[in-house]
Amino acid sequence: MKVILMGNPNVGKSVIFSRLTGTSVTSSNYAGTTVEYKKGLFKHQGKSVELIDAPGTYTLDPTNKAEEVAVEMLKEGDLVFNIVDATNLERNLNLTLQLLEQDIPVVVLLNMWDETHHKGINIDLKKLREELKVPVIPTVATTGNGLKQVLDYLDYREVKEFKKRSSEERWVEIGHIINDVQHIEPKHHSTKEIMEEYTLKTWTGIPIAALVLYLTFVVIRFIGEGLIDYIANPFFTGPFQRFLMQISQFLTEGSFLHDLFIGQLVNGQIDFEQSFGLLTTGIYIPFAAVLPYIVSFYFVLSILEDSGYLPRLAVLVDNVMHKVGLHGFSIIPMILGFGCNVPAALAARNLDSKREQFIASTLMSISIPCMAQTAMIIGLVGAFGGIYVFYVFAALFIVWIIVGLILNYFLPGYSSDLLIEIPTLRFPLLDIVFKKLWMRITNFLKEAIPFVLLGVLAVNVLYALGFFAFLTRIIGPAFSTLFGLPKEVISALLMGFLRKDLAMGMLAPLDLTVKQLVISSTILTVYFPCVATFIILFKELGLNNMLKSAGVMVATAVTVGTILNIGFNSIYESVVTMILIFIIIFILYRLTSKKYEQIME
C-alpha cells in the first residue's frame, strides 16, 4: 500500500517520515527543501507499506513546482496522512479541507501537540473529529509520541463526502470550525519570541548572521582539519602506505600495472598527492582529503537547516540578492553549492521563475566551489598561507557580484519578491541530524569514488596515449600568454570536468608558484561545473539555456584568469585594478537600478 504524507512546510513532516520509516531522510526546517521527495519502505503487521514524503504545500491549488509535485503524488496514494501544526490550526486546516474534498481517505495528525499547552492553545479533539469526520490523532514528532496510534490507521479506507468549496467558502467553514474547537488564552510575548525577533531586525540580525557564518566556518574547518590530522593522515601515511609499498615492490616500479595502481614514486616513496595511481591518489583524494570536509560541512549544514535559521538568512540577504536578479530564498542553492553543486542546481528549481533559476544556477556553478574542491584549495593553496585562500574566495565573490549584475541587466524581466514563512528557532534533534548526515555521506561516496577512480584511470590512459601532450601543444601558447600558467595545467582543467578535487590534485606535482596556484584554482572553479552538475543543468534548464550558461562560464573564466594574471603584479597595479573593478561594479549597479525603476513605472 502507498501512504502519502502531506502537510504545510515546517510542520515536522520529514521528522515523522523519518520516525515511521527509520531510514535516513533529508528533514529540514526550510520551506521547500524536499522537492526531491523521499520514499521509505517498512513492514507493519506483515504488510509492506510504502511511505512517500510529499513536498510541503500550503494548498492543492499549486503556486509553484514543489506544490505541483505534491498534488501529482496525491493521485498515486491509497491513504493520506495529513500532518497539521496544532499551534497553527487555522492556516493548516485550509489544506486539510482541500484534502477532504478529494477522493482519497485522510487521517489527520495533529503534530506539535505538546507545544499547544505552552502557547495557551486549547483544542477540543472530540469536536474537531466530529467536524472533520475523519480520525484525528495528536502527535509529537520530536519524541515519537502518538505515532504508534497512527500506525493503527494504516488500513483506514473510508472516504467521506465533502462538497467542493470555493476558497472563500472554505475560509468561512474554517472560521466556524476554529470557533467551535479552539480556545486561545492570550499570552504575553515570551522571551524566546523576543529573542527570535532580534534575528530578523537589521541592526541585531546582521551581527548575529555574521557571527553564525563565522562560527559555521570555524567549526567546519575545526572538524575537517581534526579528522584529517588525527584520523585520515595517520592512517594513510602509516599502515596504508606500508601496505602499498609492499604492493609496489611486488609489481616493480615502472611496470604497466605499477603505473596504473601505484603510479609514480617520488624519491622512492609513495606520495599520495602526486603518485596518481588508482590505489594511491585515487583512494587518498576522496577518503583522506575530501571526506573529512564533507562530513564536517554536512554536519554543520544539517544543524543550520534543522534549527530554522536559514530562512532568517534569506531575509537578511534579500536586498543584496535583488541586485543580482534573485531574492533572498536563493541563498539556499548558494549555501548548498558549497557542499556539492548537484543538490544546489536541483534546489534552484524551487525559485519562482525560469529567469531566477537560470541566474541562480549560473552564478552558483560559476563562483561556488564545492566542498571537495574547497578542501583541496585549503590543502594546496593554504599551504602557502591562509591569505591566498582568501584571495581565491575574494576573486570568486567579485565574480559572483559582477556576473550577477550583468545577467540581471541583460536578461529580460526582473526578480520577483520574497515570500517565506519564518519558522520558530528550535534545537536540532541530533538523531535526525546524524541520519541525514549519514545519507549525505553515503551519497557522496557513491557518487565520488567511481568518478575519482575513473578519473585517475582516464588520466593514466590519456597520458599514455599522448592526448594531453597534443592538447597542450594546441592551446598551450594562448594559455601561458593569457593566464601565465604552464601548459600542463590544461590537463588539470580537462580533468576538472570529471572531478574538481582530482583536478586540484593534478596541480600538486606541477611546482606552481602561489600566484599560479591562485589563478588556476580560481579558473578551475569558474570555467565549468563538473559533469554531474552539468547533467543536472541540462535537465533543469534545457539544452539552449545550459549552453548559454556554459558560454557565460567560459567567457568569465578567460576574463578572470587574464585579469588575475596581468592586473596584480605590483601593489600599485593591484590598487588600480581594484579601483577599476569597483567602478565597473558601481556602473553596473546604477544601470540595473535604473532598469528596475523603469519597469516599476
Partner: protein
C-alpha cells in the same frame, strides 16, 4: 489615505489605511485590501494572509529589504518590499 467609519453611536473614529511597507515596526493593523492580481492574492491566501486578518509588523530590513510580519495566532512571514507595498492594512479603531 484616511477613511471615516461610523461606529454606530454617532462617534466618528478615524482609521488609517497604509501599505504594509509604510507600517512602523511594532505596529499592528488589519489586512484591508490587496493592490495586485489574483496570483498575489492566492499566494498570500495560502500563507494565511487575507482580508480581516490581524498582522503585526515585526521588522523592516534596511535598503528596501523585506518586511517581517506576525500573523495573529499563526506564523511569521517575510515579504519582499514590492509585495508589501501592495498589501494595505487598516490601522487604529
Amino acid at each position: 489615505m484616511n477613511i471615516n467609519i461610523d461606529s454606530g453611536d454617532d462617534v466618528i473614529v478615524k482609521a488609517q489605511i497604509v501599505s504594509l511597507a509604510n507600517l512602523k515596526a511594532g505596529e499592528s493593523g488589519t489586512v484591508y485590501e490587496f493592490k495586485g492580481g489574483e496570483r498575489l492574492r492566492k499566494k498570500l491566501d495560502s500563507l494565511g494572509i487575507r482580508q480581516g486578518k490581524n498582522v503585526k509588523k515585526v521588522s523592516d530590513m534596511v535598503l528596501r529589504g523585506p518586511i517581517t510580519i506576525q500573523i495573529e495566532n499563526s506564523s511569521r512571514v517575510a515579504i519582499g518590499r514590492g509585495m508589501a507595498e501592495k498589501i494595505l492594512v487598516k490601522v487604529g479603531k
